[in-house]
Amino acid sequence: MSTVTVTLKKQPELYFEADLITPDQFAGKSAEEIGAVEISEGKIKYPLSTVATIGGAPGVTAAETMIVLNGDWSRVKRIGQQMTAGEIVINSNTDMYTGGWMKGGKITVNGDVDSFTGIAMAGGELMVNGKAENHVGCAYRGDWRGMTGGVLRVTGSAGNDIGTFMRGGTIIIEGDVFIHVLTHGEGGTIIIKGNVEGRVGGQAVKGAVYVFGTIKYMMPGYKYVDNVEAEIDGEKAVFAHYIGDLGERHPTSKNQIVFANLYLKK
């Protein structure tokens, strides 16, 4: 794997949008061509080379390309948007949409991320060594097809709307979250290691949520069925198993109604 290192030298007055900083865009390009990749601030588009120093060289394909981002990227949106392969390591905080619509490859953020991280993610691995804001792994507005694949891990806490309209893949939040987990879910798995304020699995059709901490306000539409023992994310535990949301529609499979499942550590 070949590595390109991009060090941000100039901060925006507003915010930068860097949807073109992906292995897909960098692969096979010369240093000059990478320098010409556009990064925008409102209406103005700058060549990347005017705001950052660029070192190293990309691989021939995205899969052979690693991008390391140094400097302060906390006012930069859309890093890794729609990437399909390769790797990005960000040694900084980032702004919104980090790893949005990503299909493959790996992003590691050594810092905090803002909202819409991993929005409508379809594959790959997104690792946040820090905390996240709202709408982690959620759907774009109006789309009934939210996160469909991949693994999204946040080591810190997160806000609300985790995995809204989720259909597949896994989200792990190691800290606490506020409200709305797997709302409108139709698949996928969400693991919360910390505590949740409430609204877990509201309007969920299918999918699974594991909560290791507490849920302050349980949805009325979840019904306790049994206790199960399981090993989740390397941790073995006994969980109280609930099904729901009883207020939502549910498909049937082999004459059995399929519910969303909520597992709360005992």
């Binding site: 619509w101 774009y140 507005r141 109006g142």
Partner: protein, 573 residues
């Protein structure tokens, strides 16, 4: 004013019996003329096809439910909108395009006139606002009337003169073009969460049947001598086994004769008939079947009927119709979001996104049925290409439909390579029987130009290259003398015309939109009837007691109608 000459093109114009003749088309002062001076700007059309601009009889392009379709589907824009062009404004949306994209795309297809298919009278001002913001194309709009309380009462009592006086008032108040009938009676029943499935189901409270409503509308239409016939979307749309309802509805036309001065020969136009030609009892492949042949056999035998196809394009799209109960039915099938607007005393509308997935049997079968209708039609002047935009697919897919009709190869390619259940589709439909059938460019011109204009009663305005008419003409990169062997060329050429004139003004030049600021008309029918005191009193009464807006604020103010063009029809003289 600038003169133009479209030189050496290969012209197809069914209104003059011209079939692929090399000739020049001259334009002066916005009209077709016999000759122009040497100063005329030359458009070199050698090796290209020249046709009158297209005419769309049924498309949902402006108004409250179209706009709700835009509003509630942000995902229809995300990564699915073209980037803004050099000379144009932003164009947003895939299945429900913004007004700018609507105007531009129709121009790119070479269309000059589009009929908005359903205008709720109460919200007519909204339709006209959108028409103002839709560039290039002329438009008209049809007020929806088959569930209107006034008309239900007049039809119940057999008061056709009163119905006529009211319908005439509505056309004037809304600046509307024709009488639109959607799910007669069923949409009023939807006010109570109910529906009318057959033409003999009674409408709750009003105690009238869909059959009586459709017949009443036809009688009213001919009494008013309107340019267009009644425009019908029958009961029971989209349901397996509905073809009997369709035939029952079509047969209602038997008692009526066309009565107008516009050269229109039909008394009923049945729209998006693909959705109405289903047999069987469920959508499963062991039950569902095509009944297009049965329906088209009947249509072929009756000159008083015209149809448009409502072709499924196998896209993710947005369905929207004044057939409120149908949309409710649909949202229960696909579990996607559902919008609905019941409009007081008048109509309703429902909107649901829908994916015509070629990996399902039913989408393949619906795709086949639409094409069968077009191919079965004997008289191509009575069968028109539409997608019931955006219901069966977006209108800018028309070129793809042309390809499927012009090329058996293209059609068979879909069955073999795109449909997951192509074999089952052949089993359950007639598409296999039609495997070799292709239409000609002349027939295509009938189905998209001359026939459509005639059915709308607008043959003296659109769909023809006759001298003296407004110069609406398109030039395509197709050489009729040397038709392309690759059917994709049809889709490409018809999707981006080489040149397009709107009222003699060059709108598209060398495939690029070069002008979109020319005046565009709102075509409406100024119907004049004898004074009718009872109807006046009835109108005052309903506004006093039932409507929530004042009578004086109901009719669209003149200042809100953009560049109106009135077609006057006076039955008092």
């Amino acid at each position: 004013m600038t003169e133009y000459i479209i030189k050496n093109g290969c012209v197809v114009d069914p209104t003059q019996g011209i079939n692929s003749q090399k000739m020049d088309i001259c334009i002066k002062d916005g009209k077709f003329v016999d000759k122009v001076s040497g100063a005329a700007k030359v458009i070199d059309a050698s090796g290209k096809l020249v046709m009158a601009a297209g005419v769309d009889i049924h498309s949902h392009v402006a108004g409250p439910k179209v706009d709700m379709g835009r509003l509630f589907r942000p995902e229809d824009k995300l990564f699915r909108s073209p980037m803004r062009g050099k000379n144009t404004r932003m164009e947003m949306g895939f299945s429900v395009p913004s007004t700018t994209k609507t105007g531009y795309d129709y121009a790119r297809l070479g269309f000059s006139f589009v009929m908005e298919a359903a205008m709720p009278p109460l919200e007519a001002a909204h339709v006209h606002e959108e028409i103002r913001d839709t560039p290039i194309i002329d438009e008209g709009a049809m007020p929806v009337l088959a569930n209107n309380w006034f008309l239900l009462e007049y039809f119940k009592n057999g008061e056709i003169e009163n119905a006529g006086a009211y319908a005439s008032w509505i056309l004037n108040a809304t600046r509307g073009f024709a009488l639109k009938c959607v799910n007669p009676g069923g949409t009023e029943a939807w006010g109570w969460g109910l529906n009318c499935i057959t033409i003999h189901d009674k409408v709750p409270y009003f105690d009238i049947t869909p059959a009586e409503i459709v017949a009443g509308l036809m009688e009213t239409n001919e009494y008013l001598r309107l340019p267009h016939s009644v425009h019908v979307h029958a009961n029971n749309l989209g349901n397996p086994g509905n073809y009997t309802t369709t035939l029952d509805t079509l047969k209602l036309a038997e008692g009526f004769a066309p009565n107008n001065d516009f050269g229109r020969e039909q008394v009923m136009h049945h729209t998006h008939i693909q959705f109405h030609c289903y047999g069987g009892e469920s959508f499963k492949s062991d039950s569902f079947e095509s009944k297009s042949k049965e329906v088209m056999d009947y249509v072929n035998s009756r000159k008083k009927l015209t149809v448009d196809i409502g072709q499924v394009t196998l896209d993710e799209t947005t369905t929207m119709t004044a057939d409120g109960p149908f949309e409710y039915h649909l949202t229960h099938m696909n579990h996607l979001k559902w919008s609905n607007v019941d409009v007081e005393l008048e109509t309703a509308a429902g909107i649901v996104p829908f994916v015509y997935d070629p990996a399902t049997f039913i989408a393949g079968a619906q795709w086949a049925i639409g094409l069968e209708i077009a191919l079965f039609a004997k008289d191509k002047d009575r069968c028109f290409v539409t997608t019931d935009h955006p219901n069966a697919g977006p209108f800018w897919r028309y070129p793809r439909i042309y390809k499927w009709l012009l090329s058996a190869k293209a059609r068979n390619d879909v069955i073999e390579n795109q449909l997951k259940y192509g074999g089952k589709v052949i089993d359950r439909t007639y598409i296999g029987e039609l495997a070799d059938k292709e239409i000609t460019l002349y027939e295509l011109a009938q189905m998209t130009r001359s026939g459509v204009a005639k059915a709308l009663g607008l043959k003296d305005m659109y769909g023809s290259l006759k001298t003296g008419l407004a110069a609406n003409v398109a030039v395509y990169d197709i050489d009729p003398a040397n038709l392309p062997s690759d059917p994709e060329q049809y889709e490409k050429a018809f999707g981006s015309c080489f040149a397009f004139f709107k009222d003699g003004i060059l709108a598209v030049e060398d495939h690029e939109i070069v002008n979109y600021s020319m005046p565009k008309k709102t075509v409406w029918v100024n119907s004049i009837v004898p004074e009718n005191k009872q109807v006046k009193r009835d109108i005052r009464d309903k506004f006093l007691h039932s409507y929530t807006i004042a009578l004086d604020n109901y009719a669209v103010f003149d200042e809100h109608v953009h560049n109106p063009y009135a077609i006057k029809v006076d039955i008092t003289s």
